[in-house]
């Protein structure tokens, strides 16, 4: 359609800053007069705090203060964007090993670390619930003995089928959240089914391992709070911090520089309250940088047990599905209620399911709190749904491809009643995967292939704003509250602005994620930036152009209608042309000035129907297993990015391979393991993430561009899709290679060997 700058794999300017070492990450940020914090953490899973002796720590060289819950009792010392249950510092009891109990502030990191060892916390142990079975047992000890107010988060209400309470008194339990979705007559459909298949799967507890651990530097002074942090969603963090300190939103400034990875794990509030209260108490700017071990204890991924049952007609047509998902959400809810809600929406897949019953429980346990991770909720449910489908295919005597061909929804069909119809040609995507996988299929023993399909209600809640500021030399500033964490938004937004305004990419500069400077953005998550910020930015560019036409009309002494748009310029009725910079300079008259275009996006028009778009995950894998050792080698990785239109194709491929690789990590290697009250492997030696030697032999990253998204140029988001169905695809491939069905991930060599060699 004649685009010039979008649709091309332009060099990302942010990458140049990053290869020279000049790029500033949060961990590089300092403030004048800054002190350093280290956190005193619980060494119990569940215990009452009977005393905190800070005397020796305070006497330690260089120590400025030791902050405990008592010091911040006058604040609203809790946070949580859905349920405000998360105490900044444990006030009376600790709920997990690793929970912050106190913050030591000192002149140096080393001095703070030394003094942490000197803070003496005495405890009285309480019975702990270390897994969901224990947490849901009759008479189980309560992780929380009180219920907390919900924050009224609009997106959560909209996405999660939450019933408003009927006013009856709530019975306290360890259930953090419960979600159900369904339709039709499931029991009748099962009764009519020719084949019914049920199985249970276990999805592992994971850690996202963004390589830059959580960190923040905060300064509370003169009734205002300034925080620089590793937050994906600086505006959400601002809201939490304003509530903690009872400050107007305008007096809380949160800035996110380049992030050293996020993958959802830096969504929502993490260490910002700890650094902020330390500054509030000491009157000094305070920097807090976690170690990887501390980061693992800050946020992990919900593990899940998922039971699934599906009924099929004799030809493989799905008649009914039922899911029961239970997630271990840890000691605090954080985003787990939404993860659960999404898991329920995403578990049954992009299939025609005439009768559905899905129920999800998010459960509190005395383990580290779980929250968002790339694709949140999708990988857990998808593993169950997809392996169940492949088991059914085996029983029905049809291929994994055929059972999907029979049941995949076509473009426009709804998979959730009343929601947006599917805006993708998923059957066509499947054929791309099948063709590529089959082309290179090896005919060797212990070789298997597997497919995975998913569709995620992506984009999150559509509230987005953007600004473009046209300078007197015709250069352009783009302002967005969306965070650059590696995915490439800084470059992509520049491409969109350059395209819309007809200016050279080199004169566009994108400024992001400073709540006092850049306009509001709800989140940087759910693959929303390309679609939603892209639309807001297009509107901002149109607004700037409209203002420039009005100004030019004054200069040309004609009506605004008579002014035409040109690339980077306008033309009057008499053919006179003025570039943007000349329009601004001449209108203001003093060789100075600026024009700002504003773009606002809400649930309206093209983005009225939820979700804003469906993010399709379409992958195929081929594995080859060493029968002696159980080692699974990935022979082929095939993915389709159904993105509507790829604004930067290489960046899309990069997101897909990165997401797929993380998915392969959880399928084959990654799992956090609790051994008693604490994790046995809270480090990157024992928690093994994929390394370069794990690269699949063949990688085929395809992009399907059908311009079927609501975003700019028909684009839809990317970045999570290929992660979501990888686990199921690998499990099914392994099952076909060894002739037995695994029921859990990761498929480590030992698990595969046992699977092959057990009776």
């Amino acid at each position: 359609m004649g685009e010039n700058i979008v649709g091309k794999s332009v060099r990302r300017p942010d990458l140049v800053e990053k290869v020279t070492g000049a790029a500033e990450y949060c961990v590089d940020v300092t403030m004048p007069g800054m002190a350093h914090a280290k956190v005193v953490r619980s060494d119990r899973a569940h215990a009452r705090i009977t005393g905190i002796d800070v005397e020796a720590a305070l006497a330690s060289p260089g120590v400025v203060a030791v902050v405990t819950a008592e010091d911040i009792a006058s604040l609203h010392a809790r946070f949580g964007h859905i349920i405000t249950d998360h105490w900044i510092l444990a006030p009376d009891k600790v709920r997990y090993y690793g929970e912050p109990v106190a913050v030591v502030v000192a002149e140096t990191v080393a001095a703070a670390a030394d003094a942490v060892e000197l803070v003496l916390v005495s405890y009285e142990d309480l019975p702990a619930v270390m897994d969901v079975e224990a947490a849901l047992a009759d008479g189980a000890p309560l992780v929380h003995e009180q219920s907390y107010e919900a924050t009224g988060d609009e997106s959560f209400k909209n996405l999660s089928h939450v019933e408003e309470g009927d006013g009856a008194e709530e019975v306290l339990s360890n259930i953090a959240h419960e979600v159900t979705v369904g339709w039709g007559d499931v029991d009748a459909a099962f009764a009519e089914s020719a084949v019914v298949v049920e199985n249970t799967v276990y999805f592992p507890m994971l850690y996202a391992y963004a390589m830059e651990p959580y960190n923040a530097v905060a300064s509370y002074a003169e009734g205002a709070l300034t925080v620089v942090s590793t937050a994906q969603h600086p505006y959400m963090v601002r809201d939490d911090l304003a509530r903690v300190f009872d400050l107007p939103l305008s007096r809380v400034r949160v800035t996110s520089p380049y992030l050293g990875g996020g993958y959802g794990s830096k969504s929502y509030t993490k260490v910002e309250p700890l650094a902020s209260v330390a500054s509030w108490v000491t009157g000094r700017p305070v920097k807090l940088t976690l170690t990887v071990e501390e980061a693992i204890y800050t946020t992990r991924v919900d593990s899940a047990k998922v039971w699934v049952k599906s009924g099929f007609a004799a030809d493989g047509t799905l008649l009914a599905r039922e899911f029961d998902l239970v997630m271990d959400s840890g000691a605090y809810a954080d985003n787990s209620p939404l993860v659960m809600a999404k898991a329920v929406n995403r578990c049954f897949g992009p299939y025609r399911v005439p009768n559905l019953r899905a129920k999800g429980l998010s459960v509190y346990t005395n383990t580290s709190p779980a929250s968002s991770y790339r694709g949140f909720g999708a990988p857990q449910g998808n593993l169950a749904g997809e392996t169940n489908l492949d088991r059914a295919a085996e029983q029905l005597g049809i291929s994994g491809a055929d059972i999907r061909r029979r049941n995949l929804v076509r473009k426009g069909e709804e998979i959730l009643p009343g929601k947006r119809g599917i805006d993708a040609d998923i059957p066509a995507d499947l054929e791309m995967v099948v063709e590529s996988l089959e082309r290179d299929r090896k005919d060797v023993p212990y070789y298997g292939i597997g497919f995975g399909c998913s569709a995620s209600d992506a984009g999150a809640y559509p509230i987005s704003t953007a600004q473009v500021r046209i300078q007197i030399d015709g250069s352009v500033l783009v302002l967005s509250g969306s965070t650059e964490m590696g995915q490439g938004s800084r470059s992509l937004l520049a491409q969109v602005a350059a395209e819309e305004l007809g200016v050279d990419l080199a004169v566009v500069k994108v400024v992001q994620s400073d709540t006092s400077v850049t306009p509001y953005e709800r989140t940087t998550g759910a693959s929303r930036t390309t679609t939603l910020v892209g639309l807001a930015l297009q509107r901002a560019c149109a607004d700037a152009r409209s203002r420039l036409r009005d100004m030019a009309a004054e200069l040309f002494e004609c009506s605004a209608d008579a002014v035409r748009d040109l690339p980077g310029a306008v033309a009057g009725p008499d053919g006179r042309e003025l570039d943007f910079g000349s329009v601004v300079r001449q209108w203001f008259g003093g060789s100075a000035g600026e024009v700002t275009g504003v773009g606002l996006l809400r649930r309206d028009g093209a983005t009225q129907k939820m979700p804003p778009f469906w993010e399709v995950g379409m992958v195929g894998v081929a594995v080859e297993i060493d029968p002696e050792t159980g080692v699974v080698a990935v022979d082929q990785l095939v993915t389709v990015a159904d993105v509507g239109f790829a604004i930067n194709p290489r960046a899309v491929e990069g997101q897909d391979l990165g997401a797929a690789t993380q998915g392969l990590g959880s399928a084959l290697h990654e799992e956090l393991v609790y051994d008693g009250p604490q994790l046995a492997n809270a480090n990157v030696v024992d928690y093994r993430v994929p390394r370069v030697k794990d690269l699949p032999r063949k990688i085929d990253l395809m992009i399907a561009e059908r311009r079927d998204g609501v975003g700019p140029y028909g684009a839809k988001g990317a970045g999570e899709g290929t992660l979501n169905p990888i686990g199921g695809a690998v499990a099914s491939a392994v099952a076909r290679a060894v002739g037995r069905w695994p029921d859990r991930l990761p498929l480590t060599p030992e698990r595969v060997w046992r699977l092959m060699n057990s009776d």
Binding site: R12, G21, M485, G654, V684, P690
Partner: protein, 174 residues
């Protein structure tokens, strides 16, 4: 270029020791705590924040710098052990005007996303390419096994290093 620094000797706090290190061609003398790690010396004392830290266990490769041309994990390398040595960090790769061929190739091949692991990959790759042999793909993969990247899935990184190796090979033969 030599920087001569005479810092006042600290009168309180932990004992300190003098070190002189050549960092990216500049001789730097400082008093450091005996437990000072090279990465903290670079980042905190010298403000060279291009080098990053992640695992602090010498397994992720993020903090890799060259000490006398040899790649080391600066998170576990004592500053005292760098006394008298030449240290090269990511800031020393480019001359400030033109990118090093590895930097150019990483950008061209989309071999980074968040970029946090990139300085380590660049320094590790430089150590390989500075060797006597021009490495093939297998040697590159073998050499980079100790560096973790969580964003890219590695393939573009291997490609980026391969491209530079091929250029070297072309140069050697032509």
């Amino acid at each position: 270029m030599t920087e001569s620094v005479s810092e006042p000797v600290a009168t309180s706090g932990p004992p300190r020791m003098p070190v002189t290190v050549d960092v990216n061609g500049v001789s730097v003398s400082r008093q450091v705590e005996p437990r000072s790690m090279l990465v903290d010396f670079l980042r905190e004392d010298l403000g060279l924040t291009g080098t990053k830290v992640s695992c602090e266990l010498q397994v992720c490769g993020v903090c890799t710098v060259l000490v006398d041309g040899r790649p080391v994990s600066s998170c576990t390398f004592l500053t005292a052990d760098a006394d008298g040595a030449a240290v090269t960090t990511v800031e020393g790769l480019s001359d400030g005007q033109t990118l090093h061929p590895l930097q150019e190739s990483f950008v061209d091949n989309f071999a980074l996303q968040c970029g946090f692991c990139t300085p380590g990959f660049l320094m590790m790759s430089k150590a390989l390419l500075d060797g006597d042999e021009v490495p093939d793909r297998e040697a590159i993969v073998e050499h980079l096994e100790g560096n973790i990247c969580r964003c890219t899935g590695y393939e573009p990184i291997v490609e980026a290093v391969e491209h530079v190796a091929q250029e070297l090979r072309g140069g050697a033969h032509g």
